[in-house]
């Protein structure tokens, strides 16, 4: 039996930065909010980023206070490691079916001491580091995870039982089972976030085969001080890279891979990562190959200028192919668009493919709201009320509705929370307390 309430005013799907903001804004208006997250920790993509553009503030330093605020808010209940199976209309509200996955650990008694993790004999690629780093079969996702409790990955378990033996809080529950939970909610905010386009999407870039062709989120982890290497190294052999290339639009604006739209953040994250790398590695040479640079937000153009002033090479060129040498350096074949199509082969230690953004969650009939041609959830009124989905009572926030950066996601989350609050006032007239 779950210890959730039978009813919440609002349910927010996804506890990344948009979901947390939407939950906080709704909760601040006195509504009871259930914040559902599929992963073992809240925080989403943002808590794993190194720094944010254009201010270069530490990303987790901004994100973790939001996580703590959501976790401690009296009107927010957080349900991690839980999938949304079904959302069915019931009058103005919804019947919701959730699936709580087993951690094999009692979340109430685990003290997050990591003794089980240190004792576990299995090492597997860590999802938080996009496979570049490792974790144990029983693990706490990262140092900023909320809740700070262990999860046992049973697929990689050797069933040695050491984790329970060393647990000082006696919190392992080896007979835990998946549990379906049924609740009622008055409104739903979908903030299910993003995934990046697959590294193998463009076969000619060999992104899924060559270890030194990395994805941009992996590069964020490489640059993070708590990342897999603790410093910027290339994945094939730990070399300190001295020449790095960025290939823009590697997973966007390309009909051949089914992603015809601009992902809106790739130019800025590439410029940010490039600039930061010059701060981390003395004498590093960085080239960004692009179709055009889109620096459209507040302070973004200035950031673009700053990156060029600090020596980042911005080259208008179309990369046709990436191959590997015997020592795992990379050869980029590029057509220079500003030089009459001159073709050049250039050698790099590492290449970052600027992958685009795709929706992380495709619930189909389980949610029943319309999806646009681009795969993102459709707004019923994108110009006037962009957070309204095609179903009354279901609202959209963050990248679930289309590619956007962190400030835009936060703004949209607030708007979705306000629309949800209005809807709840209209349909349920709850007693709102300050």
């Amino acid at each position: 039996m779950s210890d959730l309430n039978k009813r919440y005013d609002g349910m927010v799907i996804g506890a990344g930065i948009a979901g947390m903001q939407a939950a906080l804004d709704l909760a601040e208006q006195g509504f009871q909010v259930l914040l559902v997250e599929k992963d073992p920790s809240i925080g989403g993509v943002m808590v794993g980023l190194n720094k944010v553009f254009p201010t270069l503030d530490c990303s987790s330093c901004i994100c973790t206070p939001r996580m703590a605020e959501a976790a401690h808010h009296p009107n927010i209940t957080i349900q991690t490691y839980t999938e949304v199976l079904n959302v069915d209309r019931n009058g103005p509200g919804f019947n919701v079916k959730l699936l709580k996955k087993p951690r094999y650990v009692d979340e109430d008694t685990c003290i997050g001491c990591s003794k089980c993790e240190l004792e576990c004999p299995v090492l597997v690629p860590h999802e938080f580091d996009y496979g570049l780093g490792s974790r144990r079969a029983v693990y706490i996702p990262h140092s900023n995870a909320i809740p700070q409790v262990a999860t046992l990955d049973v697929e990689h378990c050797t069933f040695c039982g050491k984790c329970a033996k060393v647990c000082p809080a006696d919190c392992f529950i080896y007979d835990q089972q998946p549990e379906e939970i049924e609740i009622e909610v008055g409104a739903v905010i979908v903030a299910s976030g993003l995934q990046i386009t697959p590294m193998g999407a463009k076969a000619e870039y060999n992104g899924d085969k060559l270890p030194n062709v990395v994805n941009p989120l992996g590069m964020e982890r490489i640059q993070s001080s708590n990342g897999p290497y603790g410093t910027v190294l290339r994945p094939s052999d730990g070399k300190i890279p001295k020449k790095i290339a960025y290939v823009q639009c590697a997973g966007s604006r390309d009909k051949t891979i089914g992603v015809s739209y601009c992902s809106r953040v790739c130019c800025m994250y590439a410029l940010k990562q490039a600039l930061l790398t010059t701060h981390y590695i003395h004498g590093v040479e960085i080239t960004i190959y692009h179709m055009d640079i889109r620096a459209f937000g507040k302070g973004y153009e200035q950031f673009y200028r700053r990156a060029m002033d600090e020596g980042i090479k911005i080259v208008k060129g179309k990369v046709a192919k990436i191959d590997e040498t015997d020592n795992q350096d990379l050869i980029i074949r590029v057509e220079h668009l500003d030089e009459g199509g001159r073709v050049e082969e250039a050698r790099y230690d590492m290449v970052v493919l600027s992958q685009g953004l795709m929706p992380a969650w495709k619930p189909g009939s389980a949610l029943g709201i319309d999806v646009g041609e681009d795969g993102f959830f459709e707004s019923v009124n994108p110009k006037i009320k962009p957070t309204l989905s095609t179903m009354e009572g279901v609202f959209l926030a963050g990248v679930s509705a289309g590619p956007k950066d962190i400030p835009d996601s936060i703004v949209e989350a607030g708007a979705a929370a306000m629309e949800a609050a209005n809807y709840l006032q209209r349909t349920t007239k709850p007693k709102v307390t300050a």
Partner: protein
């Protein structure tokens, strides 16, 4: 305002005489053949790397050559050893850090 709830224990109270690992093993049919192979290889690689590092600090390419392992495999394992406090960075040799076993305290 409702009572704050920390949901998520699946309602499983920590039972008296908590289930043994045997329950979990039986329910999942034990380790898969693939997992057994993975685990065996993992231990073999770790033994090779530990033994090699006993002779002194080495870079990832040096370790890979000495242990006849793929370079990227060596890198991943050395970084895992670093993460869990088994090796630490030593000096920089050219473009590479060398790594050494962390002394037992």
């Amino acid at each position: 305002m409702s009572d704050k709830k920390e949901a998520g224990t699946n309602g499983h109270a920590k039972s008296e005489g908590a289930a043994s690992i045997k329950v979990l093993r039986d329910r999942h049919g034990g380790m898969s053949a693939e997992m057994k192979e993975y685990y065996k290889e993992l231990n073999n690689i770790r033994k090779l790397l530990f033994d090699a590092l006993k002779s002194g600090p080495m870079t990832v390419p040096e370790l890979a050559r000495k242990c006849s392992l793929k370079s990227e495999t060596t890198m991943w394992h050395v970084m895992a050893m670093r993460r869990y406090g088994e090796v630490v960075e030593d000096k920089i040799q050219g473009d590479y850090y060398s790594y050494r076993l962390k002394e037992a305290h």
